[in-house]
């Protein structure tokens, strides 16, 4: 107990790289009256990634980047989600699950293609098990380039979506 308390006090605030006082940014996607402004719940779908994008996506929700402070939260069910974050080239085995996840998400909803593989299959283009990029399977609204994108990029893109 005391050890943990000491650790908490010593550690203090970790979050910090993204300037908080940057003020609300205009959303490039959603107008001010859009239902999703200020609150976007995310269901992440790994459609064939090498797990690199997952590492960085998880970091964005870690204490250092803390994207949750902008009203972005991970949720367990697509029924609770507003946006799908899809990583990897879509494999033949994940195409149907991805579509089903998309269908299971109530509107209005967004699809965010995270990473180069999600955008254009990256180095995996042409693999016999690859069905295509995310946009080939479900309509994509936002793309975040990078292999993998840095947490800073991810946070910036998500802020653009949520408008804060």
């Amino acid at each position: 107990m005391l050890k943990l308390l000491r650790k908490i006090v010593q550690t203090g605030r970790v979050t910090g790289t993204v300037p908080l006082d940057a003020g609300p940014r205009p959303s490039l996607l959603l107008n001010a009256a859009h239902p999703l402004r200020g609150s976007v719940q995310i269901r992440q779908v790994d459609a064939g990634s090498c797990n690199g994008c997952e590492t960085e996506f998880a970091a964005a929700f870690g204490p250092v980047y803390d994207v949750e402070r902008f009203g972005v939260r991970l949720v367990a069910s697509p029924r609770h989600a507003d946006a799908l974050v899809v990583t990897g080239p879509v494999t033949r085995n994940m195409a149907v699950p991805l579509v089903k996840t998309f269908e299971a998400t109530p509107g209005p909803k967004l699809v965010i293609a995270l990473g180069d593989c999600a955008r254009d299959c990256g180095v995996f283009a042409g693999g016999y098990g690859v069905a295509g990029s995310v946009a080939d399977v479900v309509p994509v609204d936002v793309e975040i380039p990078g292999c993998p994108p840095t947490p800073d990029d991810i946070v910036a893109s998500l802020r653009r979506v949520v408008g804060r």
Partner: protein
């Protein structure tokens, strides 16, 4: 059943509902800060709810009317309890409508409906959540009722207004062993019934470990908003019960607006303190293994039982 009484009851319901998401937002913020994060603003849960109300409503195939009915019953039962429990004033019109037992069974009614909804879609997760929820609810029941027993022994009544008035009249009773034992017992049950650590993890993303979350995996949009709001409201109701049954000071004994404002301030402070304490404790403890939960509740039952025996032998 006077008009002012009804007005007070309605005011309680409205204020509880309005403040519940903020309380949850505050608890999330405290956890974030202790984890070194900035965290979402306190009003974030309201934002989330507002958004959900504007989203598409999806109903799973194979479900029955229970699926649509459960969020309503869950929220209505919690709201009714918010009207009965003396938060602001002991003059609530609903005080004679139901006593503490009625409150407990009304909350159980909500639990039962949510559990049925969990079974309704026929998914393994929903059933799992229902089964776990009913297990915990069933085992928590003895603690709840025996703790009420302890409270009503000294007061001679299980009416909420009477218990509050009695504690106000005899402040020393709040510090009596019986009262403290009963408080501890109810605190444990509160944590179990509101799905907090160490019983359930409100922020988990693991379907197989969930209790509350597993039952509501099928809900979306407005239905989900109702369920979430009800969950927030139940937290307020349980914490409010704990606060005002054991520390009723500040509550209005009339329905005068000024007194009510002061009472609202007092109950707000109490709720914030209790919620903050829970939020801080949650950071320091882990979730116990599912089959240790009954042990935890058994321990709380022993506390409640001791409270009754103590009040018998020490009164």
């Amino acid at each position: 059943m006077s008009p002012t009484g009804i007005a007070v009851a309605v005011l309680q319901v409205v204020l509880s509902i309005a403040s519940a998401p903020f309380l949850v937002g505050m608890m999330r913020l405290i956890r974030a800060r202790l984890e070194g994060r900035v965290g979402a603003p306190i009003r974030q849960p309201w934002r989330d709810l507002r958004k959900l109300f504007r989203k598409e409503r999806m109903v799973s195939t194979n479900t029955s009317i229970v699926f649509s009915l459960a969020p309503l019953v869950l929220l209505a039962s919690a709201a009714l309890v918010a009207g009965i429990v003396p938060f602001l004033s002991t003059t609530s019109a609903l005080d004679q409508v139901g006593d503490l037992f009625a409150v407990v069974y009304l909350l159980l009614l909500g639990t039962v409906f949510l559990s049925l909804a969990g079974l309704d879609a026929g998914t393994a997760f929903g059933g799992m959540g229902s089964s776990r929820e009913m297990t915990i609810a069933a085992i928590a029941e003895p603690t709840l009722l025996v703790a009420i027993f302890a409270l009503s022994v000294s007061t001679g009544s299980s009416n909420l207004g009477a218990i509050v008035a009695d504690t106000l009249a005899h402040p020393s009773r709040a510090a009596s062993p019986a009262s403290m034992l009963a408080f501890s017992a109810l605190a444990v049950v509160t944590i179990a019934e509101t799905g907090r650590i160490p019983v359930d993890n409100p922020s988990t993303h693991l379907e197989l470990t969930m209790i509350h979350e597993a039952m509501i995996l099928e809900y979306s949009g407005p239905d989900l908003a109702l369920v979430e709001l009800a969950a927030h409201l139940r937290l307020v109701v349980f914490l409010g019960l704990l606060a005002n049954l054991f520390f009723p000071w500040g509550i209005a004994t009339t329905a005068q607006p000024l007194h009510l404002v002061a009472a609202a301030g007092a109950v707000a402070v109490k709720l914030i303190v209790l919620a903050a304490v829970i939020a801080v404790i949650e950071v320091f403890i882990a979730k116990v293994r599912l089959f240790r939960v009954p042990e935890l509740l058994a321990a709380s039952f022993v506390l409640a039982f001791l409270a009754v025996t103590v009040s018998f032998f020490l009164v």
